[in-house]
Symmetry: C2
């Protein structure tokens, strides 16, 4: 593997990882190119501990009693509407989930709209009503907003940024850097639905499909898990870059290895069929209503039971465990009994999935 070509899942990705002088679609993939851009440019310039922790949300201490989780996400999904969701539902759930991944409950959201001249108001209204419904579902209010309009051809219908503030329960510390060898790795359900639902809405599957996005607010699921046990070390929602990329991020942050069991990771038959046809590995396909939990092994069963009792976690499974070595790597035991390295997504796979 060199800087010039990157082999991933047997394919060669033509996009170099460094020395780019221009932004390419891969910089928005959520995989290694995104990480490199973030590390080299943003973390370097905006250097501070909350940002450098590189979790889904930043943690800040307001006073001795109050810690807040703060996060932001811009949403540029195309098309705006897809089976199971739309850009509005995604914008609310994306930020609610980032906040929930610190164990926090959302206090409020902000919403910034960039509208393209010529956008039908009825489309905007549908999106706004979907945001309203998703916010109600999550139990959060949208308390501040902003609207900008750009000329026709300078956006793609509309883009939505949401930022959110959540309240972290006292004495709770959850973060990607806190996995320790021996921990159990849980996953809240089958993977790949969101990414393939968006592709299907684009007509890129080439066949009819019943795939629905899993986009949903995970804060109530997280609350139920914390009710069962607070010995949850890491929470992460595997969005862009999929399960494989999120697990790699955690392995790097915690300096540990993760071994997962292929057979315990579920993929619906429709998603599986679509991935096979298109040559995608579901491990790299985005989810918007799933979470990974890395927990103390003795409490894994009761946390799993709490997950399964929640509608958004009813297909939860134990998918693996944390090991000391190889540090920073993710290995997978395949159905055939072999073990393979599961790398981070390198270049571009599914642009504008969220």
């Amino acid at each position: 593997m060199t800087d010039e070509t990157v082999s991933i899942q047997g394919m060669v990705c033509p996009v170099p990882l460094s020395h780019n002088d221009r932004i390419v679609m891969g910089h928005g993939s959520g995989g290694r190119m995104s990480h490199n851009l973030i590390n080299r440019l943003f973390l370097n310039a905006f250097d501070n501990p909350a940002l450098s922790a590189s979790n889904d949300a930043a943690r800040i201490q307001i006073d001795s009693a109050t810690s807040l989780a703060i996060s932001t996400d811009s949403h540029v999904v195309a098309p705006l509407f897809f089976p199971g969701g739309d850009i509005g539902r995604l914008a609310v759930c994306g930020t609610v989930n980032d906040i929930a991944m610190l164990g926090a409950q959302p206090l409020c959201l902000t919403a910034g709209f960039i509208l393209e001249e010529g956008l039908e108001l009825s489309v905007l209204e549908r999106v706004v009503l979907s945001m309203k419904a998703a916010a109600l579902e999550a139990g959060v209010q949208i308390i501040a907003g902003d609207t900008k309009v750009v000329q026709k051809g300078k956006a793609d219908g509309l883009y939505i940024n949401t930022a959110g503030v959540g309240s972290i329960p006292p004495n709770l510390d959850i973060g990607g850097q806190l996995a320790v060898p021996g921990d159990t790795v849980l996953l809240s359900g089958p993977i790949g639905d969101h990414g393939m639902a968006v592709l299907s809405a684009r007509g890129e599957l080439g066949f009819e499909s019943d795939i629905q996005s899993d986009v949903a607010p995970l804060n109530h699921l997280v609350a139920a898990m914390l009710e069962a046990s607070t010995r949850i070390h890491v929470l992460r929602d595997p969005t862009r870059g999929g399960l494989a990329t999120s697990l790699n991020e955690i392995a790097l942050q915690s300096g540990i290895g993760i071994i997962i069991d292929e057979e315990s990771i579920h993929v619906s038959p429709s998603v599986n069929a679509a991935c096979e046809m298109l040559g995608f590995d579901p491990l790299y396909v985005a989810n918007e209503g799933k979470l990974i939990a890395i927990v103390a092994p003795n409490d894994a069963d009761k946390i799993l039971a709490a997950m399964r009792a929640n509608p958004l976690g009813k297909e939860s499974t134990i998918i693996g465990r944390v090991v000391e070595k190889p540090a920073g790597r993710v290995l997978m035991k395949t159905g055939l009994g072999s073990t393979r390295v599961v790398d981070m997504l390198a270049g571009e796979m599914l642009p504008r999935i969220c």
Copy 2:
């Protein structure tokens, strides 16, 4: 004045105010069309007291000791660089200032980038370093971020959303609804520089000009004012829609009238010349480093002195006073001794100014 044509500053604006079935540039102007869109669509759907207060930032109570100011702004200014600033400086200052308008000091910012495929990395780096410098100037950290990439032709270089959280000092209540008859209206300096600087960068002035944007973080100025007196009722930074629109917003929120004195409102000779050539009224041109303060009359002099002692307020003046009637209206005594109604910006004047 009908729904179909709107007379403003003697010009007829061809854009109807209602029954639009599509987004037009005027919906992003910050004037009446923006207000109508926000009121009819967003406030209606996301109904909650913090949002409906319609201040630059929302106020939320975290616990008995802590109130936060929360705000968001997306930035789509074109071009990305202009005399005196750039989209990065604007993105930091815009949100810092919105937070400061509740009397709060910023605790942290988030930054969400939407990048157009093909953007030169050196451009992005310049913008990020400018954000870093502006954040340092304001004394705030950027603690969470997000990067999305859209295909070439689906954005215009880059767009930046910032959201921010600030801490409101205990027992302080500042908001657009709190002006009372008798209050004194202060303005922190000459108006119109930002808007005309952006126009000049677009080459739309048709002549060379030394106009520089006033874009700057106002939180330290606000802190100095609060040090002088906490009897500040309203703070607002007159951005899109200019001084005239901001004063009208306050008049409507507080249900009072405002009388301003034309001769006390300063406009630099360069801005004045440019406005005259292009037929703009500086009262409607955006500022990004100015504030309006409406204060208890007995404390106006000491607040004015504190403003003048700060580099960002050294040309501050008393520009008017709050009256009981006409409620919801702004009147201006002209240099010729007559009084005229100053309305809110109706349609579109300067697109993509911030």
